[in-house]
């Protein structure tokens, strides 16, 4: 672990806990969203390999709150942990993905769980 941290700092790869996917510094819990229409998004959170469902869901809700405020409804449709295969180490659990439709201005699925989200 220490070696990884040293290697990361040497190569200048900074990581943060939460942030947009594909941006620098790299976020451990990375979000991305694509608008379907004016009020609906497909929201995706990708987490580290050891991330549990509770934290991933709270991250999903965190981003949902940022996009919609308190009033939104969620329809999750994908919770998957793919198996990645490395040539050197064999197979390993991949980064979990939580994905779903987010409808702004409908219901109040927000609030509540945001406190559980790591900062």
């Amino acid at each position: 672990m220490a070696a990884l941290v040293i290697a990361a700092s040497l190569c200048g790869c900074q990581t943060i806990e939460y942030g947009p996917a594909g941006a620098s510094p790299i976020a451990r819990y990375a979000y991305s969203e694509s608008p379907v229409n004016e009020t609906r998004y497909v929201l995706t959170i990708t987490g580290p390999a050891n991330a549990g469902m509770t934290v991933m869901h709270s991250m999903w809700k965190r981003r949902a709150g940022e996009l919609c405020g308190e009033n939104y409804s969620e329809t999750l449709f994908r919770a998957e942990r793919p198996t990645t295969t490395y040539g050197y180490y064999g197979g390993a659990p991949g980064a979990p993905v939580l994905q779903g439709f987010l409808d702004c201005g409908v219901g109040s699925a927000g609030a509540g769980d945001l406190a559980a989200a790591p900062q």
Binding site: S34, V36, F77, A79
Partner: protein, 379 residues
């Protein structure tokens, strides 16, 4: 080695193109008019319901230490994989007794037949539906809509996935790619089926059990049962099986419930009441495939690599049907449950029931013999 070097060099120089257009091939107005009514050929399910599992493979790591390293890691992998592989095989065997591969094929044929219109129909509609054994009769059937399927239980057996691959190909139905390419289109986009798409159904998730003393005891008894022979006798002391069983019992007694241990219990949940839950999901999946296949055959919408998801249906239990908007899977259809409570993993290996693997072996040797006969005749 040469090939690997060429591939690496290609990647480094950016010469190897990464596919940036969807796999789906939508119908065109011309193709809809030319096809009108199509026969359907369902490839018989040979694997039946597969049980996925996670296979440890450290051979690459061992190989750098030469022959000894390779041998050591091979033995270590074999020991580590013995339990999960055995359990996955056992789950596949149990499932095939209640939901045999033939029943899966028959169910899909029935659901597709229910989409055959009684009278005249507009656009593309289905005609006769038949099953075909693709091991003995490989190759595309001219002008027929061909469907092949995969049925897979997840690593911990908490979820079940059905994927249907559909293609329509005809000698007089040339494929013209609807996608734009910066330079010449790749070879794969110059021929092949005029229509192609994928339909994926994800079952509802079963709740993952929590570890209790009772669960530990049931797990141990299940492991012991799995090592008994046909007469119910346990493995002989000091045999390889006895050692493997002891190792598994030791692992079962720790305070962790691994995915393949969870699978032992959840497989039973699927098979309760004569496999009622599993059969219901299979029927629902086939109904979804048949319904949306007919819809898609009459759609000329061209998917885009950077498009948007389309929500087609939301059921009262939060299940959604959507047309995937972006990426390689753009244009494909997915039915997924709502209220997800855990992550699903489909491992990197599958086990198929013994009865199915024996059938595949038999059919493969039949096909080989028939091919040799034909070759001899022609020479």
């Amino acid at each position: 080695m040469k090939l690997v070097s060429v591939a690496i060099a290609g990647l480094l120089t950016g010469c190897v193109a990464v596919q940036d257009y969807p796999n789906a091939r939508p119908m065109t107005v011309d193709a809809i008019q030319a096809v009108a009514r199509t026969e359907v050929v369902v490839a018989e399910s040979n694997n039946g319901i597969e049980k996925s599992w996670f296979m440890t493979d450290s051979s690459a790591a061992g190989a750098q230490y030469g022959l000894i390293g390779g041998l050591v890691t091979a033995v270590m992998d074999a020991i580590m994989n013995a339990g999960p592989s055995r359990r996955a095989g056992q789950a596949a065997n149990e499932i095939s007794e209640l939901v045999p591969a033939d029943a899966l094929t028959a169910s899909l044929v029935w659901h597709l037949q229910s989409q055959v219109p009684e009278g005249e129909a507009t656009g593309v509609s289905l005609k006769a539906v038949a099953a075909s054994q693709k091991i003995t009769s490989p190759g595309p059937v001219d002008r027929a809509l061909e469907i092949s399927t995969n049925y897979t239980l997840s690593e911990d057996a908490s979820a079940f996935r059905i994927v249907a691959h559909v293609a329509l190909q005809g000698k007089d139905l040339p494929y013209r790619s609807p996608y734009q390419f910066k330079s010449a289109p790749p070879k794969s986009e110059l021929a092949g089926p005029v229509y192609r798409n994928t339909f994926t159904y994800h079952s509802a998730q079963l709740p993952v059990p929590t570890l209790t003393p009772d669960l530990k005891a049931r797990l141990a008894s299940n492991i012991q049962a799995s090592y008994r022979d046909a007469n119910g006798a346990p493995p002989a002391a000091d045999s390889q099986d006895a050692k493997a069983m002891a190792k598994e019992l030791e692992a079962a007694n720790d305070d962790k419930l691994t995915k393949d241990e969870i699978a032992i219990f959840l497989t039973r949940e699927w098979l309760k009441d004569n496999g009622a839950l599993l059969k219901r999901e299979v029927e629902t999946a086939h109904a979804f495939i048949a319904k949306y296949l007919v819809q898609d055959l009459n759609s000329t919408a061209v998917p885009s690599f950077t498009g948007k998801d389309v929500l087609l249906e939301t059921a009262s239990d939060q299940r959604t049907v959507r047309r995937v908007g972006a990426g390689l899977d753009a244009g494909s259809y997915t039915s997924a449950p709502g209220n997800l409570t855990s992550f699903t993993t489909y491992g990197n290996a599958i086990a198929i029931a013994k009865v199915n693997s024996e059938k595949i072996t038999r059919l493969t040797s039949q096909a080989r013999a028939a091919k040799q006969k034909t070759t001899k005749k022609s020479t």
